[in-house]
Symmetry: C2
Subunit: 94 residues, 2 copies
């Protein structure tokens, strides 16, 4: 996997370990950075994924950056609403 | 309220608007920064609080920093476990 590849894990409704393993696999395949994204109620799960990856699997991984923001969604009836988002960048040292 | 005061809002189990109003009150009392903290399942609520404060109440507020981390808790039977935490710093411009 080249370093320019975007290694993004979108955290949704599955169990935490699914996303943890996705991150760990990317690091094992040579990724220097893994980007964890989530929105709405999955945000706490994304933070938990980052924690478990660092504490239990990739000890050399550090949190390079955390961003929170807003996305505007449009429902089928044309209404728009805002939803919170998070982006966590994990970087592997060395 | 002097600028050196720590304006910290701990987000827990109450409804989001309780914490939003706590933040808004601190800014209205002259705070330049408000720190929003949460752990575990309240993390997504903390991100939502920051979003609502910025979009609906304090338009000049920006996200100065976001940190995620781990806290070690000890249960009554002596076991320890890790919990994810988030700290969001909101800053009011001007």
């Amino acid at each position: 996997m080249s370093e320019s590849t975007n290694n993004v894990v979108f955290v949704g409704k599955k169990a935490i370990m699914n996303y943890v393993l996705a991150c760990v696999t990317m690091f094992h395949q040579g990724a220097k950075r893994v980007i964890i994204k989530a929105r709405g109620k999955a945000i706490n799960k994304a933070v938990e994924v980052a924690r478990v990856v660092r504490e239990n699997f990739i000890r050399g991984a550090m949190i390079e950056n955390v961003n929170i923001g807003t996305e505007i969604l449009t429902s089928k009836d044309g209404n728009t609403y805002s939803i919170s988002t998070i982006t966590i960048i994990l970087r592997k040292e060395g």
